[in-house]
Symmetry: D2
Subunit: 285 residues, 4 copies
């Protein structure tokens, strides 16, 4: 049982430290979620339960991982952005990647019932993940814009596609053909004229995805400031977003943000935890 | 909304293809499982429910991933070994690593109740993972021996430690002191003389961990051969193991293995699935 | 002058250790050698001076680097193969790569006059390099066969091409056109019928490139065995080569090889060094 | 001779593209140059011939490589810095590293006589090399300061050491002991009091190393501006250096710099080349 004579195999583990002073993006992506959506009766083109579950699983990851400064989710994918100075797990790539990926995956199953109720989870889902490094803040901002622009393009298409199929009684093949070659304006017009859908009035979460920010959020104007995570659906393609949330990509954003949106599941969990532990003087009017 | 002006960020994704013609080992490891075990009242020194859940989650991974030829688990860790010729995900490291890690994590939560019953899962667990490459069969065999020798060393220590604490009424600190400097023979003697425990008669799963093999298993002597996954607890440190399961590390082991062990949860699932789908003429006497 | 406040930049150097237990191939390749050959009046299709200089520079590298077991050169490229157990520079990739590359480059200039005499070196040449790992002996053998098959294909083409241009008075474009679509047999016939060249009788160094072996070579049948490097031009595509030089890829080949080929510049240098240092009882009849 | 059956080995070459948008530093370093200096009678503590040769070899590299914006050399090492947007060799690491390393090595031998005259080069020298990436301009500046602070520390020590040995008749061991524990001020005083050496008046090239800049240099006030490479020995630890040469790390620095230093070998080569090719209207008063 001389363990030592086999222990040399440990030396085959190679170092995978990531370059310092770069933002680390971990993006996870549902595997075969097209089928998964069918198996679990997801509403088309968007299932609010599924999106809220994705957001809640991402919130669990973010809550546990101090150095994630922002996350962005859409459809069956989520991106987590570590500030450039993070020394989390000594910046070892596989450790960072798998910890995020595993926590997200197990949270997705753990919180399934909270969002899907009687819709039974048929089998364990699977998410793959990757790491990308970005050396400049501009790169990271462009990354987030890229993912959000993707939401818009896909959602407009999907909204038109499923209107044609579900309300217009076209087959999927016919719907695809009908949309082939159309630009955004065409799809907007089609939705409005044929289905009386004003795309601009669609839910923000469908059109823009969800941004999770780690900020000093003031939930009640008269009361104390609270360090917190908020889930919002604002337009990152507009410059005013980046002015409003300046220093978003920095490790310690000191700016206090006034929030007067809805108390989401994510905010509610933080409020309840605060009350339970009484570690913070939060008050919600 | 010009997606194209941001799309350059995709070029920052670097290739992580793994060297061809090498065995790929993915090892996952529970994060903070010491605390997790306490929070969920794991029996000391070994919790059979927990080990069976680990094995069942690993079985889910192996069932879905054709090119994993063998897996080995102990305590809160599991190693999955891909045959050296696998082209799964074009051998892209992060894809392989996260797919295994995610499927394992979500399965652990999904099947929790099957093994833990009324013991409620308090929060989503987390597993980290890593990839190691081994160029020769000898390396892979030594790797498996290394992990199994580790089981023995840890389990003998833990068995003695918890006997001293739970039956001997020592404090953890006192038990640690008592065992400091002892060799295997000392611990065997201590267990036998003081607690009437014959370590050799401890469960094989505790002493040797669990090996998952992908083999042509014949469950019933009179009936048809069945390609299958079996969970066994044999001694890989002995050469006869490697003679019995020759070609274990090859992509397509044609050898038929007669199995007359117990029908485990893992075997049972395969039998039930066969019956359900009627795709294979399996019969269990 | 506080050096320490800048020293953090050293931490940006990332580990590049190569996987253990794999053969390391370093291949270097002349940069813009088409032009370099023109600027230095290389004979077409092959310049013996240039090939001998390449071989001599490679010999300098091999002499200095204990763990290179075999090297193979052709045209303006050279491959150096480290045995799989080498711990040279702790297997750090960049160190291995640049040391070989630099020594080769400086040797090429240093020994230019030895081979080119009055043909003046116009400017410093440049060689790029790469590292490839091979996990099995079969891979390495196939690598060497690949490079040697390449010599044959290129040299037959070049021999026919330059015969057409230099003796047949075709323009390069016409010669290219003439050879387009021909197979080996066609080119052999063309050379024989039109130019009375029997390709089989061309110099072995042109047809097969040069193999540098590290072996126990016996230069004189009656005298002592000598550990040495020999430069040969045998056919590695034939299995008898691999039988003759068995254990070629192992760190310490103990087999004594009888050599009765010519005393090349490479052998001569070893003989002279032995005599100078008197450290070895070599005798050449 | 079926080349194709071996060609699979090419697929073992893995991608080594470097992260975009980062400065690429290639640092080369003489191997065993302590001995090399002895074998070639280098003057102690500094040999001007050797430093000028290093600079001239580095100039050859920089002249050929468009995207190197600055280089810094001292003793037997040289650092080359590519601007962060370079797409040279598609940012493939090994290509970049070996091309620089090879050109430098062959140039060192090629230009040896130009600087060493009758001092014969005994054997080909060897330089190793490495690549480091820096994501921010601040990192690159700190890198250059780090290397220049290193010159100062080493040179002050070496100047004192060799004064003690060559003029003070101490043995190397005694000199080492004498300097042990001394700070800069101590060494300055020792040099002045015991050997009448004012360290501040030592040659700048010895105290600060050599910076190669790619700039629009105006060599003659009345005449045309010339894009050029200059070799200077200024103090990069002072902020005024970075103000004077602003945009130094950018791909295309448009700023014109007036130069009234000596016409070095490096400048002279550029002047002669201009005159020869008549491609640029340069005039030196």
């Amino acid at each position: 049982m001389a363990k030592s004579s086999f222990e040399y195999v440990k030396s085959y583990e190679l170092d995978d430290t990531l370059l310092p002073n770069t933002w680390i993006v971990v993006r996870i992506d549902g595997k075969c979620f097209h089928k998964f959506a069918e198996h679990h009766n997801f509403t088309k083109p968007n299932d609010l339960r599924a999106l809220n579950l994705m957001n809640y699983a991402a919130y669990q990851v973010m809550k546990d991982t101090h150095d994630i400064c922002v996350a962005f989710g859409q459809s069956d994918e989520y991106s987590f952005i570590f500030n450039k100075n993070t020394a989390f797990y000594k910046r070892r790539g596989a450790k960072l990647l798998t910890t995020i990926n595993s926590k997200f995956s197990s949270s997705y199953v753990f919180y399934w019932r909270k969002f899907f109720g009687d819709e039974i989870l048929q089998y364990p889902p699977c998410f793959d993940g990757r790491i990308v490094l970005y050396p400049s803040a501009e790169n990271v901002i462009d990354y987030l814009k890229w993912r959000q622009a993707d939401v818009h393009i896909n959602n407009l298409y999907n909204t038109a596609f499923w209107a044609l199929v579900l309300q217009g009684n076209l087959s999927p093949g016919q719907a695809e053909k009908r949309l082939c070659g159309t630009v955004s304006a065409d799809k907007n017009e089609l939705l409005f004229k044929e289905f009386n859908i004003n795309y601009n009035k669609e839910k923000e979460i469908f059109k823009r995805g969800t941004i999770l920010l780690k900020l000093h959020v003031q939930l009640d104007v008269k009361k104390k400031t609270v360090a917190s995570i908020i889930d919002i659906h604002e337009d990152m393609l507009k410059e005013k977003f980046w002015l409003k949330y300046e220093n978003l990509l920095e490790p310690t954003s000191k700016k206090v943000v006034h929030y007067n949106g809805p108390i989401t599941d994510i905010l509610n969990d933080q409020i309840l935890n605060r009350e339970k532990t009484k570690c913070s003087p939060i008050n919600i009017s």
